[in-house]
Symmetry: D2
């Protein structure tokens, strides 16, 4: 089931960018959780198009409807079906895409794989698919929040603009992150990022960057070696997002330049429990959470859609040129922040349930 | 099933470092494949301890035995059970580990998760577990090879020593890679790496680095959006390996610093089929292979085991010190090369079968 | 994912009887299949309430809407989301069920499991859930039909009325089955069954019975030992239907009274291929189809909802009485016929794809 | 993974009848369980060949070896690998089977599916495969026993000899069941069954029958609608066993002849909790355990191997005759009793863990 994710708290997303709707079915949700459409909506609003002047102006309210699984304001343990209707469809704007493969998009590969495709706005490969992920993630994060877990994703790099490392020692607040439309919690860098995004958009170009995510309040013990290590499932979750090209946890690629004596996290007893003095491990050791802050980063490439003319081929293989006309995000990162949080919440809740099943059900 | 990997060509590994044996069961292997123990053994020999003077001297022949699934030299489509006995066990050497948590190892997290653990040599968290992966990968890669697919992993970075980018334009041969015990195909860099590894070992320290993997001969169409994208499953596979901290595909983290106009891969028709002019996508677009060379990189942290004294706590939480005495790899990368190849082969064959099932079985 | 079924052609159903809607997401459908809503609708019409005077008069059009996965009349290989709105909701009619557990229904067990439940019409435990199965099954059976496979379920027993064994030698036609509202292809028995159902309904009572299903045109080779045997997956599929209490294939329970010499199916070569002379195996040997007609039977208990007063307890455990008032089926079998066919089609198509993946992709 | 079973407590079996060994890997076992090889062995001894004069005389000690997952006498939560060597191999006895398809065996279907097969003793299709199931089941049942659950399977029918219904009101003891080699707890019937089995064996023939299984001590709440209903997973488990042709729960096929008013199980409060007055449901309502005794029955066909000459075809399709010479069970039921118990334990423990994960981890 390539459109499903999670073993115990599982989601199945469906929908094309310009079809009637997109949605998600959540299976395995613990019962009894109070849940309103508004709680889901507020997360969707953070990824909605048109929310600021540095994202796509596509006009979608992304209004979520709960079709099942919730009764009298509480989850029932049965599948929760959520639907968002697509309203601002301009299929005419995509006629070119019917005939030509957009460079670094999925047009050609979908055609090669399936032999057919919905060319309108990328069809299934559109980031619109992530609506279902964010909606489901809203539920997962609410459960985690009740268990004391906080998740926070934010932009640390756009193009070559990077938050100074020293500026990120504290766990940023939601207010600090959302203070800027670019969702970078460092005001000076954020301002520069907004300018950069506007500048590349004006030039018909695009930029990428890096999102960092931190989670605190996790108990030790989450993650299932040897294949379902916590970082492996987090990595898969992130690399399943459109436009991602890399994932690293803790010290990541930079850590490869340290010696073991510099990299190892010494243990100490602090606050009555085993803690590490440093956190180059990023909260995970041997694939299992160690109770420290989870820290990872995701690389997003520059948006493939640009307004400049590009060399490509048509569906018959003939050389041609193509320049996007439609609405698009010159930088996907601001809207990807809630998506990264959603996927993190899904992975963590799923692993919490798995851990509970194997290791907390029976005592011998 | 946290110890299983793959949907159609699936493996289940088992075994602890100092238990009686380690092994793997392969389910879903296509029938009729000629297969000898020697073909599996030759891959195991590339990851075997004691193969050179820059790896651990633990004496293990890692002799594989086929217990099922092969009859008269051919696979039968039934589960293939492979076992390797552990022979060089020195449990005495690990008494310290029973009482003390080794920094940046999985001792503490296994204890926190399961409440019990086999402390000897890391038990299940030992890289010895990867024997099963390499054995299974040998079968997967043989099948892929018959379909024209070649996989090649090699070391591109050890500590701060990096192969010059210009030196890696060609797909390296196995001979070029294995010419040096460090498995770096650039002779000058390889020589420096070997010296570096010897130096840190002499200092009781360790180093990490980066392995790059390239695959050619893949058809377009492999990978299953939206969650089982090819890069997502490759990323999960790599991040499920011990000591990994990062994964990137194609342009990766560096690509985040380019503009869309610089990053996009233009299409052209070449050799009668649709090709990209550049390959910043790394062989994957929209989660599906595009027929170009697959290129990805994996970050390995410095080996956690070092001979220097380190600060830690014991199982009761009391502060203590610990210095490893046992045999260990000062740098895991040389032996990780065949493991990366094995995991790649497992992912690619599994996706090949999945692609065949959905998109090649029926024609309408 | 307890609400998902199938490995490669997978469905996920959702929805409660008196919630806003019920539906299904189909993942893994082969692309390129011509598909109209009408083709799905015609199957739904066979299970729709109100279709005859021996089934529940609940007024539901069960109008299906395709929300994704189909573009310009063809499947795309992406998830197909189908929704049916619930329209004839009379929640008031179920107030009693809020306080009292209906005997032999799922009220008590859902409460015991989840701690909450939608009491209206059984909520998730309602047979209304099977709408999604029938809708998905319509697609599966269309694909199978194009491959030459025909499925036919029909009623062979209602209460103690049974079709004479000799009357079922031929594969019945759809017209023969649907000639009577009870969907029994033997006219005399069918007439008696209709009378019996009307009589028990008049008495406020209910009856059960047996549905037989036959499939012809299957190739040998479908089914995956050792756990995913064809009969095991068919059995699970049938026993996952509401009100089922038994499943048997081929000679079934009666076959246990034969000796091996009487029961074995001799082989012969007929029509150029290996055939069995008899078919006590029911089309499956060792868990794999042998190319003969698949024959199995499913036992359905009498409808739990009866209009007579019954002894029960309320949600606080106090003794009470309860008599159903709502609309219900005095016998579920007529409407279960298309459901049995749908589940069969789902199992068979899924196994066809699995067989293709492992055994038809590579040739050595 | 067709050779795996279970979602959280999962097993993967492997091995051919005349290969080097058979075995199982158990993944997801709760840690900390005291476990000795002897506990597993005692279950294996109940299914071992040669244990009485009404079963096959094949000489196999079926000595189990634990290769991983257990340390210092306790499970660790890591995969448990169990191996049993095949010792009494007489491949020569099976030369005929290389050339001829045995009627009602899996020879032809394995060949049709995989294109190759191990003809010796049925290879993978041999009931020898169930060793792994019984070994894994021994662990599952030990955990269940500690939670107060008892499982008991026993033979109720051999050929046309049936235990009188009135004789089975009590939950039989293990001693009562194993008092006779046929494992029927009703002494008079058991004696007749033994005579019947000896008689058919003397005639070179075989017989089948029915095994009933009862489980008590289960909490309400196990089972996961809509597809993973408890009876659906039990049914699949049983129908995945060699030689099974049917499954029924509670009232089963006979219940189809009752009216709703006769069949429904009234509720009452008894012993401080909600109970049913009767148990036609067989312990399951709506796919979820209701806390009553679980009762189900499994139909086994007469052993396909008979010593009489039978009509068949050879691998080229030419008509021929075949008479078995090897050792075989004239009736599989006595040895199938522990296998039915093992599969029941696997299903129930798996569902217990699933129930715990979704419905016992979080409280809102």
């Amino acid at each position: 089931m390539p459109n499903s994710f999670g073993k115990l708290f599982s989601i199945t997303t469906w929908g094309e960018s310009h079809g009637p709707a997109v949605g998600v079915v959540i299976d395995g949700c613990p019962p009894g959780l109070p849940l309103t459409p508004e709680e889901i909506q507020s997360e969707l609003n953070r990824r909605r198009p048109g929310q600021s002047d540095i994202v796509t102006p596509r006009k979608e309210e992304d209004r979520v409807e709960i079709l099942s699984g919730v009764f009298e304001g509480r989850t029932m343990g049965t599948p929760i079906s959520l639907v968002v209707r697509n309203t601002d469809q301009r299929p005419g704007a995509y006629e070119d895409m019917k005939e030509k493969y957009r460079p670094s998009h999925a047009d050609y590969t979908y055609q090669a794989k399936f032999g057919v495709r919905d060319h309108r706005g990328g069809g299934r490969s559109s980031a619109r698919e992530t609506i279902g992920r964010v909606a489901a993630g809203a539920i997962a994060r609410k459960i985690l929040a009740q268990a004391g877990v906080e998740l926070r994703a934010y932009v640390t790099q756009v193009h070559d603009l990077t938050v100074p490392a020293a500026a990120l020692v504290e766990f940023p607040t939601l207010a600090e992150i959302d203070a800027s439309p670019v969702r970078c919690p460092h005001p000076a860098t954020a301002a520069a990022m907004v300018e950069r995004i506007k500048a590349v958009r004006a030039a018909g170009d695009s930029v990428g960057g890096v999102i960092e995510c931190r989670v605190r309040g996790l108990p030790p013990g989450l993650g299932e070696p040897v294949f379902d290590r916590l970082e492996a499932d987090l990595g898969k979750a992130m690399l399943s997002l459109p436009a991602t090209k890399g994932f690293e946890i803790g010290s990541g690629f930079a850590g490869t330049r340290l010696k073991g004596s510099e990299h190892n996290d010494a243990f100490e007893t602090r606050g009555g429990r085993v803690r590490t003095v440093t956190n180059r491990s990023g909260g995970v050791q041997g694939g299992i959470s160690n109770g420290e802050e989870l820290v990872f980063r995701v690389a997003f490439k520059p948006t493939a859609t640009i307004l400049q003319s590009q060399r490509t081929v048509d569906v018959r293989g003939a050389a041609t040129e193509l320049a996007a006309k439609g609405r698009h995000d010159p930088c996907v990162l601001p809207r990807a922040v809630p998506i990264v949080e959603a996927m993190s919440a899904l992975v963590l809740l799923d692993h919490w349930l798995r851990q509970s099943a194997q290791n907390r059900t029976f005592k011998f």
